[in-house]
Structure formats: structure tokens, C-alpha cells
Symmetry: C2
Subunit: 212 residues, 2 copies
């Protein structure tokens, strides 16, 4: 059985999204900047079916981050489309060919039939809570890992429930000052840094969750 992992970009002051999240700026003001280290890498461009890009420490890391993921879980807000019953025309933020290329399980209170996208991504909608979503994701992932894609609330729930094995933080050298914090309402898990990779842009720290 694989691990349950999460890798996410966080500002030094602990935010994974900026303030004032809107449809136009789903990550809030300046929140997109948290991810700027990813976009120029060869590893990311390859995942998007594009050529070129920088071959760097960050690029190698990006490739590794996605290599062993067999399924994703994400919160309703990260999937988007607004709150309440589904607008069935909404199929996520990522176009026809989302960057997941695996089954994705969306935590929601509103049932919906699975949505099959190009490139191997299928969005499945789970209304029975985080443990049910994890069971379905594990079944889909087989021996590979299940990654909690975000947002903050989904990560918090899995961490607080003791269901997360690894938390891989990309600590971005910016101070957002406001927005959505990652490590709130998670209780007191015991973490152990098991790998640190420094790049000029970002400090990557992989923590193993060893207890609580």
C-alpha cells in the first residue's frame, strides 16, 4: 500500500493562499506567486505536454513529486465551481486535460456523477467524508501513493485525523500577511524532517508524520 502524502507551497508566514479569493483569483491576492517556482521547470512543462523549460533542482523535484501518485483527493473549494449543488458545466480550473492524469476524488456535500477528462484524469465526487474518500482513492491508487492535493482545509482534516504520512512543504520566501493558513486546526502531530532540498527559489522540506 502506498503512502498518503501532501505537497504544497506555503509562504514563510504559513499561508497557502492569499486574501480575497475570487473566481478571477482563486488563490487570492498574490497567492499565485506561491507557485511561480513550478511553472518554468522542465518537469512541470512535461506534465503539461509542453517541451523545454529549466532543468534545475526544482525541476527534478517536480518530476519526483508526481511520479508515484496513483490518485488525488481535493476539497470542493479547490475543485471550484462555487458552493451548493453542482453546476454540471463546471469541470475544474484546469481545462480539458488536467495535470492529474489519475483518478481525483473531490470531497463534497453534493453528489455528482464522475467526470471523465482527457489524459487520464477522472473527477469522482465523494459525499461520505474524508475516510470514505481515502478508501476509494487507495483502491484506485493500488500500490502507489494517494496525494492530498489541497486546499488547506482538506490537508488539515487528513492531518488532524492522523491519516497523513508525509507533508512536503515548499517554503516560498514571501510574506503574504493574510489569507488561508495551512497549519491551523491540526492538533499536535509529531513531525520529523526527512529530506531538505534547497533551491535558489524555494526551500523544500519533507516531513514524515510520526505520531501525535
Amino acid at each position: 500500500m502506498g503512502l498518503v502524502t501532501c505537497q504544497i507551497s506555503m509562504s514563510i508566514d504559513g499561508f497557502v493562499a492569499g486574501p480575497n479569493q475570487t473566481f478571477e483569483e482563486p488563490l487570492g491576492e498574490r497567492g499565485e506567486q506561491l507557485h511561480e517556482w513550478v511553472f518554468p521547470t522542465e518537469g512541470w512543462r512535461k506534465l503539461q505536454g509542453m517541451e523545454g523549460g529549466e532543468r534545475s533542482t526544482d525541476s527534478k523535484l517536480v518530476e519526483e513529486l508526481f511520479r508515484n501518485v496513483g490518485a488525488y483527493i481535493m476539497g470542493r473549494k479547490m475543485f471550484g465551481g462555487g458552493a451548493g449543488p453542482w453546476d454540471e458545466t463546471w469541470t475544474g480550473w484546469w481545462g480539458d486535460d488536467p495535470p492529474y492524469h489519475t483518478p481525483v476524488f473531490v470531497l463534497t456535500h453534493h453528489p455528482r456523477e464522475p467526470v471523465v477528462m482527457k489524459g487520464g484524469t477522472t473527477f469522482n465526487f465523494v459525499t461520505e467524508g474524508i475516510e470514505a474518500a481515502l478508501a476509494q482513492a487507495r483502491a484506485a491508487a493500488g500500490d502507489m501513493d494517494v496525494a492530498i492535493a489541497g486546499g488547506a482545509s482538506a490537508v488539515q482534516q487528513y492531518l488532524a485525523a492522523g491519516l497523513l504520512d508525509e507533508l512536503h512543504l515548499h517554503i516560498v520566501p514571501m510574506i503574504l500577511g493574510a489569507g488561508e493558513r495551512l497549519l491551523e486546526n491540526v492538533g499536535d502531530p509529531i513531525l520529523e524532517p526527512v529530506e531538505v532540498i534547497a533551491s535558489p527559489a524555494v526551500t523544500h522540506v519533507k516531513y514524515r508524520v510520526v505520531g501525535r
Copy 2:
């Protein structure tokens, strides 16, 4: 002229002290744990005039952190003794021979004559604000660095004023959940990670403040 630096231990969720700070627990609940990586090191024990200790990555770092500091600045609350006019019997938390071994400038609203301690530490009390304290500390430090010792508020003030050159965070793998946050009210400084050192206990990231 030396740099203006700050090195401080911070939880992954951004706290430099726990909740409910009291005379008995000046760093708040579990706040002391932020510093546990320091105490067993040979470098720290040497600074305290003690023998033995662990020779580790952390120990070497501790020695380097203190090597080039010619003067310290600290906030009134870090120096302690309660708010308001001074109780002249209070000479800090650190006993007769504090671990600073240089002039220390305490930011306060209440004037007080300098207090000379053993081992080269003199506590000077500055009532004219952070810039005056920095000028005095620079004069005392000569070519060496001035270190902002803490607490959070003092660091915030120097960072927000654009007076800090380096911020060296020791990111401790614990989640405090509440307490005193370091990176609040500091505006939007531009930081660049210039050195990352991983130890089993802590991730040390030195940021240069390159603009705002």
C-alpha cells in the same frame, strides 16, 4: 560596518513563543521546546562555559551564529521584569553571566542606568526607539554584526522598518497552534534564501532581505 541580523527558532506554523506566557513560562506553553535543539550542542555548552555536548551540524551552526555578533538588541518583554517602571533588582532571565558576552541594548519606555554583568554582557536601556538603539548598537559592535535577539515584536519592528539585513530561521518541526507569531505586521519584504542547512532536528534557512 557589520550586518543587522536576527536568528530565531520558529515552529512550522510560524510561532516563536507558545500561548499563555507567564513569569514561570516566559516562552509560553511548549515554547521552550522550540529551543531544545540548541541545548545539547557542544557549541552552546561552550558559550555557557560548560564542557562536553554534541558535535553536530547544529553545534557548528550555533558557534557560527554567535561568532560575529558585536552587540545585541532586545525588546523589553524579552529582557523581562514586568511592564512599567523598572524593578532595579531585575537583571534579566540569564543569571550573573548571561550568554551574550557583548553590550545588549534593551528597547524600553522607561530609562534605567546600564547594568554590568559578568562575562562581558552589559545591559543598556534605550528609550529613544529602534533607530537610536541600532545606532548605539552599531557603535558598540564596530565592524561586527548587530543581532536582534528578539522577541517577535522587536524583530517585526526592524524588519518592517527595512533595517534588517538577514533573517536566519530555525524551523522546528512542531506545531504550536497558538502563541506569538514572528512574521506579522512586517509589510512585504523581499527575501532570498541564501543558505539552507538541514539537521535531523531543525531546518535552518538564512534569508537575505533584499528589498521591499
